[in-house]
């Protein structure tokens, strides 16, 4: 839908989100945005900035610290015809809302025989770095992917942030919208008009024949950086960003893996019974003979110490090294130099938040 004449325009991820709310709230009076702190001066890192002034406190409001009930209230409002966007500053807090999300939101349309719909968007942010630690850093998308009736999306750039948010708001189903704090300051070209990035379509970010690398959420960015590093040593990686995790575009991934014969899945979450397991299993069911590996959070709780946190997450260096081993099994291991693995967006970031 983006107009061909509009001049290219760079927007930050948070600005892109905010623009999505702004445009959708103007278009549809049933849309409202609420959740702890959406209306304060920090405005969820700027992603809800200006909405209160423009749309008023009935459509932009904070809540008590009551994630469980507030989720149920959002669901009821959605069933009654509204389009709530419920905001959480950490994905970890969704664990308080699991009952409502899984037992009601995911099931309402089905268990009441199609009588009701739950057009609800649940935004949450993943924290990383500066010691966010055990309870402020989790990427729990896999738990939601597991449940029929929920859609799950994890945009990795500003363009997709806007397009996915508009698609999520217009979707008649509950959508778990996973953002990543480290992506907030990153910029990309974003059309000024409303547009959608529709559920169920992955994006091939880089082309390559040596292996397929799937990167989820910010790991798509890390994988692209890894692909650059691999390029320097003659390995051509095809990086795929699934964007939507449910519905998942497994066909695009499987087609790529079939061609390259090698699949590395890098998740911003734990691997065990997670999104990366799903992608490998889904490909294995469709294509014979693909060699597959996954990476994600270390199988530990997230520590705060920077010396440990460093090893908890995949990064472009470890991704490139794993990709090398997968693509060049006969050759000796290789890893890029530590200096070359830093991502611009990670260097920018500064605590305490």
């Amino acid at each position: 839908m983006s107009s061909p004449e509009a001049p290219p325009r760079q927007l930050r991820y948070v600005e892109a989100l905010c623009e999505a709310f702004d445009q959708e709230m103007a278009r549809d009076p049933s849309v409202f945005v609420f959740g702890l702190d959406v209306d304060d001066h920090k405005a969820i890192q700027g992603s809800t900035k200006g909405l209160l002034a423009k749309f008023g406190p009935e459509r932009v409001f904070t809540t008590p610290l009551s994630e469980d009930a507030m989720t149920g209230i959002a669901i009821g409002a959605a069933m009654a015809g509204m389009r709530p966007v419920h905001v959480h500053i950490r994905m970890d807090f969704l664990l308080l809302a699991m009952n409502q999300l899984v037992n009601i939101a995911a099931k309402a349309h089905y268990m009441w025989g199609g009588q009701v719909k739950v057009p609800l968007v649940v935004r949450s942010m993943i924290g990383k770095s500066w010691g966010q630690g055990a309870q402020h850093s989790q990427g729990l998308h896999s738990m939601f992917m597991h449940v029929p009736g929920l859609k799950v999306v994890a945009p990795s750039n500003a363009h997709d942030a806007k397009g996915c948010m508009i698609a999520a708001i217009r979707d008649d189903n509950p959508v778990i919208f996973m953002e990543h704090r480290l992506l907030y300051p990153t910029q990309s070209e974003v059309a000024a008009e409303p547009f959608t990035v529709e559920p169920g379509k992955a994006r091939i970010c880089t082309r390559g024949d040596d292996l397929t690398v799937v990167g989820i959420s910010n790991m798509a960015q890390e994988a692209i950086r890894a692909a650059e590093l691999l390029h320097e040593v003659g390995v051509a990686a095809e990086v795929i960003d699934p964007i939507w995790l449910a519905p998942l575009d497994i066909e695009t991934i499987a087609a790529s893996a079939k061609r390259t014969g090698r699949l590395l899945v890098v998740d911003n979450g734990w691997t065990m019974a997670g999104a990366s397991a799903e992608i490998i299993a889904g490909v294995a069911e469709r294509v014979d003979g693909v060699r597959a590996r996954r990476m994600g959070f270390a199988p530990t709780t997230c520590p705060t110490s920077p010396w440990l946190e460093e090893h908890f997450y995949p990064n472009p260096g470890t991704i490139a090294a794993a990709a090398w081993t997968l693509a060049r099994p006969a050759e000796k291991p290789w890893a890029p130099s530590p200096q070359s693995t830093k991502l611009a967006y990670q260097v920018q970031f500064k605590g305490p938040f």
Binding site: P64, M70, G76, A80, H109, G113, V116, D172
Partner: protein, 321 residues
């Protein structure tokens, strides 16, 4: 229990019809149950019908109500389709949820039955969400949520009370306090078993308790609360003391189990509203009403029995809207 509310003849007949109809639906369901045609847990409302009937009598058709797994009475009192409810229990395609919800999840959106939920207390915030939408709509519509005494122990009960009061939501919370959660008496579950209204008030929701088992007392309290709520007064809480005559789940009595005894039930059975109201109606009218009810129920059972089963591919329908 003193029972002295002024009510017109037509009020009495209407209320009697509504209560008796639910009672009979429940009794017929209990009779059918051992045949295993209803392959779903049922939680009968027998003994508690007066609450749904009293409250729903004070509602407008465009108001919204919802409850727990024990919601046959709410469904019927609010105007839900009996055929569709019976077919739902039978798991038929013509059921109100097309056979996907069963007894615990009945709903009828067309008449404002928002749906019922089997995880205790989950419906409380859900109905508050309806209330939020109704408030924004600004047409004076009200949402009512029915809940058990056990549901008041879940965190979301308190959380909802607070938000509803804070946002002045048009929400009436009606607690059917039957003194038990499954087999556990409230004294084993609450430090202050008599404190439900005090809790609501402390959080900021005006509360009222009705202990005399009188449908008109419930109706009058509900009508007064609903009038205030419609005017923007914010949520209210009504606790109604009732007694569950049958087992928690299933069709039988269970006074032979060792958790409660029949003598506890007897005063409630003696004061039964079905019998009391029946006695206030002239026999001819009563016979007519009773006959109509039996015919309607028989037709509903027939409807359910004769309805087609859902086709296998229906399994995959309606996962997403």
């Amino acid at each position: 229990m003193p029972k002295a509310f002024a009510a017109s003849r037509s009020d009495i007949e209407r209320i009697y019809r509504a209560i008796r109809r639910i009672r009979r639906v429940e009794e017929v369901t209990a009779e059918i149950y051992p045949s295993d045609k209803i392959k779903s847990p049922v939680h009968l409302a027998i003994g508690q019908e007066l609450v749904s009937v009293g409250v729903c009598d004070a509602l407008r058709p465009d108001d919204v109500a919802g409850g727990s797994y024990r919601s046959h009475a709410v469904f019927l009192a609010k105007g839900g389709d009996l055929n569709a409810m019976m077919a739902e229990m039978y798991g038929k395609d013509t059921g109100c949820c097309r056979g996907k919800g069963g007894s615990m999840h009945i709903g009828d959106a067309a008449v404002g039955v928002a749906g019922s939920s089997a995880v205790v207390a989950t419906q409380i915030p859900m109905l508050a969400g309806f209330a939020l939408a109704l408030k924004r709509e600004g047409k004076g519509r009200v949402a009512v949520v029915f809940l058990g005494d056990g549901a008041t122990e879940e965190g979301c009960f308190y959380e909802t009370l607070n938000f509803a009061a804070l946002a002045k939501l048009p929400l009436l919370l009606v607690c059917e306090n039957n003194g038990y959660a499954i087999h556990e008496p409230i004294a084993k579950r609450r430090a202050r078993p008599d404190g439900l209204c005090a809790v609501a008030e402390a959080i900021g929701v005006p509360a009222r308790k009705i202990t005399d088992g009188n449908t008109f007392a419930v109706r009058d309290a509900a009508a007064a609360a609903i009038a205030r709520i419609r005017e923007g007064g914010g949520p209210e809480f009504i606790e109604v003391q009732v007694y569950r005559w049958r087992e928690h789940v299933g069709p039988n009595e269970d006074f032979d189990q060792d958790y409660r005894c029949r003598s506890e039930a007897e005063p409630w059975m003696a004061g039964d509203e079905v019998a009391r109201l029946a006695a206030l109606i002239d026999p001819a009218t009563r016979q007519r009403i009773d006959g109509e009810i039996e015919a309607e129920i028989a037709a509903a059972v027939r409807f359910a029995e004769e309805s087609p089963a859902p086709a296998p591919e229906e399994l995959y329908a309606d996962v997403f809207a």
